[in-house]
């Protein structure tokens, strides 16, 4: 092809890529919810788990500690931060230990008689009022006078204080200067966010909000703000993953470019060689953006890693060119094999699609589209762009010697037997558990961060992230009633030290029936005034002082009962709303627990309520989820393996040849498993996914080594191409293996090991060199 048409083709290709890019920028929505990479839940407990992981009250809680300045200043910073955050709807609840009467919204103040349990045990009659007024008189003579006197006219029975006490967490840190302090002298706060815990973007906004509110406080310079909690972790993980992926990506790209320049000594080849992968990547994203409403950020990051396989296609073409042969002729010779490789890689990635996990399905769509596009571009576009004449790679100095070296390696036919035995023995004697069932093990958090979290959680009495008490009823009020009913049982459990504390929904709002019963005990205005007058007789209180009290009782007596929906317009009601979840045909109440010492002690409660109240072990639910998920992936893999055998046997038209391709692949895969297990690494889902990727790469090596051309030059070209591919894979995935993020590390280590084993075993089991 002459220069002008080549330039036209290149221009047209670039324009197409540009158009794809524009399409992508207009349609692509990137999501960050980490749950799309978690297994799809099947049982009700698992579904609840997935909701709770992101949206439950526990996961929305941020633990805040302030230190670095003297205690009195810390206290005022704590007050200031709490006051500032309470004004923002993004933080439904902010507690720092100060006396927060504003917690009960002014509009609902008169409801205190329906919310407080006082009237359950006494009537609002003359003796009660008289006793209360006498006590208030004592209060007036006591140090508490100045604190209480502003409450008196409206609330002589101090119902608000009783409610405040009821709503204060049972186990709270020591209070100094009116705010919570840790034993290390940090001011402590608990902030509940509106944003879901596993939505790093929304959490980041919430956390930045806290930071800027803090920075705006006078005297915050020099003070240090420490954050912890699930939401904070998801932000850290997200940022860390992005950062590491960026750094690793950049370094391996540079290495990759250097490698290709050394291998082909041509900048043009390098640039043209990049076109198929760019095409694959853009096409993959475009199809994904069209198929899915939202594309996960992790899919994009991992997808490009997985698509690295596609770089092999142009590498094969570049390495296999002969002197005097046009690129088109070279690609025609290679194409059957290349097509087999592409088809089998696509089949392997279909296993991802079958996993049923949203994120992995996206990944499958992305990689399959990308591989096909890159393969087709290598076959039908790239050869027309490459220069007519190329240096024959077979003449590369040293390559012939290397080939001879490999050819002269001893390769006994019985080699697969000891390898298989060694792998089996290693798998059998490997320490630790085979599978990693812990979802949390996949979160890459520095240990000191987790220790800080545990320490703050302990000091704040913040709820356990492992257990939740689930209360199920047909509607929200039913949940509240159920919660009231089990209060005595829970108190017994608390007394028996089965757990440290619990936060039941009924703590914030009694059921409608209880409110009505309390309402019925309220006297009418006339009766109340009469009783009040007689109670006031012997006290120095002003006679008309309690008019606001009388008005409130009248309002409470005639008001409709407070429902969770109406209550939700206040901060406390928000707190309650977070605990009540509508799950279609029923409602679920979620009571957070702290310090569960004896999970089995809850069993009688579950039996007594017929399962309506049960302890949800989030750890166990997540482990069962992971186990089920793994079973599905393994099944999908088994099907993919069968398809793969069929495809290769069909492509090579021979089971014997298929055996020569598949046997080294299988052995190498088991060797990777064996080595990782011997190193004490339990296998996670990501190891399985990476094994598939490594298998795809190994398949290429085996296919090309198996090809018996009888031409030493062609064999040298094959070796060259394969070494370039192996080195580039080792470069990219070897970098990932050093990552601090468990997921990236799992992928990097598995694929690097896999590439090494696949290369060695394929070359040793290659048939043409064996002395038959």
């Amino acid at each position: 092809m002459r220069f002008a048409p080549r330039a036209a083709l290149l221009a047209a290709w670039l324009v197409c890529l540009g158009l794809l890019y524009v399409l992508i920028t207009h349609t692509l929505v990137v999501g960050t919810d980490l749950r799309s990479f978690m297994p799809a839940p099947t049982t009700p407990d698992q579904k609840l788990l997935m909701d709770q992981v992101g949206e439950g009250p526990g996961s929305r809680l941020l633990l805040v500690a302030i230190d670095g300045v003297p205690a009195s200043q810390l206290a005022s910073l704590s007050h200031g931060l709490a006051a500032s955050l309470r004004k923002q709807p993004a933080y439904p609840q902010v507690v720092n230990g100060d006396f927060d009467l504003a917690a009960l919204d002014n509009r609902f103040l008169f409801y205190r008689y329906l919310l407080s349990p006082t009237l359950d045990t006494t009537a609002m009659d003359a003796p009660f009022l008289s006793d209360q007024l006498q006590q208030r008189l004592d209060d007036m003579a006591s140090p508490a006078a100045s604190m209480l006197k502003s409450l008196l006219p409206r609330d002589p029975t101090l119902e608000l204080l009783k409610l405040a006490e009821r709503w204060t967490p049972a186990k709270s840190p020591q209070v100094k200067d009116g705010v919570w302090f840790s034993s290390k002298g940090e001011a402590l706060l608990l902030v509940q966010t509106q944003a879901a815990g596993f939505d790093p973007e929304a959490q980041e906004a919430a956390i930045n909000g806290i930071r800027s509110a803090f920075a705006a406080l006078p005297g915050s310079q020099g003070a240090h703000l420490l954050l912890s909690g699930p939401g904070y972790f998801s932000v850290v993980v997200n940022a860390q993953t992005r950062h590491e992926a960026d750094v690793i990506g950049r370094i391996s790209t540079i290495g990759f470019i250097v490698l290709l320049l050394v291998a082909y000594r041509s900048v043009t080849s390098l640039l043209f060689g990049a076109l198929p992968v760019a095409t694959g990547g853009l096409a993959g994203i475009a199809v994904m953006a069209l198929c899915f409403r939202e594309v996960h950020g992790i899919t994009l990051a991992f997808g490009f890693t997985l698509l690295g396989v596609a770089q092999e296609y142009p590498i094969r073409l570049l390495s296999h060119r002969r002197a005097g042969e046009t690129a088109l002729a070279s690609v025609r010779g290679l194409w059957p094999l290349l097509m087999t490789a592409i088809a089998s890689a696509c089949i392997a990635y279909l296993a991802f699609y079958a996993s049923g996990v949203g994120g992995l399905q996206q990944l499958a769509v992305f990689t399959i589209t990308g591989l096909l596009a890159a393969g087709l571009a290598t076959r039908y576009l790239l050869p027309h762009l490459l220069p007519e004449r190329a240096r024959d790679i077979a003449t590369t100095p040293g390559l012939a010697r290397l080939r001879t070296f490999f050819d002269e390696l001893p390769r006994p036919r019985w080699l697969p037997v000891p390898i298989a035995l060694a792998a089996a023995a290693m798998l059998y004697f490997a320490p630790g558990s085979f599978w990693e069932n812990n979802l949390a093990a996949l979160t890459p958090l520095p240990t000191d961060m987790l220790m800080t979290d545990a320490r703050l959680r302990g000091e704040l009495g913040a709820p356990d992230v492992r257990y939740l008490l689930v209360l199920q009823a047909h509607d929200a009020d039913g949940v509240l009633a159920l919660s009231e009913r089990i209060e005595p049982d829970i108190d017994r459990l608390l007394a028996g030290k089965a757990l440290d504390s619990v936060e039941l929904p009924s703590r914030y709002l009694p059921s409608a029936a209880t409110q009505k019963a309390r309402q019925a005990k309220l006297p009418d205005t006339q009766a109340l005034q009469k009783m009040l007058a007689s109670a006031l007789q012997d006290t120095p209180f002003k006679k008309d002082l309690f008019a606001p009290f009388v008005a409130d009782v009248a309002a409470a007596r005639s008001a409709p009962v407070l429902t969770p929906e109406r209550f939700a317009s206040s901060p406390l009601g928000q707190r309650l709303s977070a605990m009540l979840v509508n799950r279609g045909d029923h409602w679920v109440g979620l009571a957070t627990l702290s310090g569960v010492h004896d999970a089995a002690a809850f069993a009688p409660l579950a039996a007594k309520t017929g399962g309506a109240v049960r302890l949800l072990d989030l750890k166990q639910a997540s482990e069962s989820l992971v186990a089920e998920y793994r079973t599905r992936i393994l099944k999908a893999l088994a099907v993919a393996t069968l398809l793969l055998i069929a495809t290769i046997a069909f492509a090579l038209r021979s089971f014997r040849r298929a055996w020569h391709v598949l046997a080294p692949m299988t052995l190498a895969t088991f060797m990777v498993l064996a080595v990782e297990r011997v190193a004490g690494i339990p296998l996670s889902l990501f190891h399985l996914v990476s094994l598939i990727l490594a298998g795809g790469l190994g398949l290429h090596y085996a296919l090309f080594f198996e090809r018996d051309t009888g031409d030493p030059d062609e064999q040298r070209r094959t070796l060259h191409a394969t070494i370039v591919c192996v080195l580039s894979a080792l470069l990219v995935f070897g970098m990932l293996a050093w990552s601090s993020i468990p997921v990236l590390r799992a992928i990097g280590l598995t694929v690097s090991l896999g590439v090494a084993f696949h290369f060695c075993i394929s070359i040793l089991m290659a048939p043409h060199a064996s002395k038959e």
Binding site: D138, S142, K149
Partner: protein
């Protein structure tokens, strides 16, 4: 009323210099534990007539203070470790953070500083002004913290020689609590008035 108060002040001699105040405060120091009986009259906007109580105030050393009320009903309030604990007969003790009761924090600061003879501690929390009229003296303590001053506008301690006799706490909303200390506690009238007590403290009562 206010006129009478102002009169009480204007009849006093002009403010004494600071070192005089320091010398006086130093002379008030006692070894802990120091106990004194008290009788308090509280004049409040929520009350028709003053509320009188009596008992014993004790400084137990450091920041530990005990206020025991014997009449009209027994109650003991202890201030220690930034916490106030109230114990009443037949009731379970209740406690609250000192910061919720600024009145008490001010009382603690002034009382401990006076009984410790610690002028510098007093100067930390208050602007101190001493007025002398012969053997009689009067220390006016104004909280330096604006937030505290909003609730407790001033404490006035009256004394004779090296003996404090009265403590008057003026709250931001106009309520006043007057404590007669030591031997003077026995002289609480059955129906006290603000003016009468002020005069009693200043030693100008008939």
């Amino acid at each position: 009323m206010t006129m009478a108060l102002m009169l009480a002040w204007t009849t006093s001699s002009p403010a004494a210099p600071a070192h005089d105040a320091n010398a006086l405060i130093a002379s008030l120091g006692r070894p802990a534990p120091a106990r004194t009986s008290f009788a308090e009259a509280r004049f409040s906007s929520v009350l028709d007539k003053p509320l009188v109580s009596s008992g014993e105030l004790a400084w137990l050393g450091q920041d530990k203070l005990e206020r025991r009320v014997d009449a009209p009903r027994k109650e003991t309030a202890t201030i220690a470790d930034d916490k106030v604990t109230q114990t009443r007969e037949g009731k379970s003790p209740r406690s609250f953070s000192l910061s919720r009761a600024p009145q008490l924090k001010v009382l603690l600061d002034s009382f401990v500083a006076l009984l410790g003879g610690d002028a510098s501690r007093l100067a930390e929390a208050f602007t101190v002004q001493l007025n002398r009229d012969g053997e009689h003296w009067s220390l006016a303590l104004t909280p330096t913290d604006a937030k505290v001053a909003k609730q407790i506008s001033r404490i006035v301690v009256d004394g004779l020689g090296n003996e404090p006799r009265c403590m008057r706490m003026e709250e931001g909303d106009g309520d006043v609590a007057i404590d007669l200390l030591g031997p003077l506690a026995a002289k609480m009238p059955a129906e006290p008035t603000r003016d009468g007590l002020v005069a009693l403290c200043a030693g100008t009562a008939p």
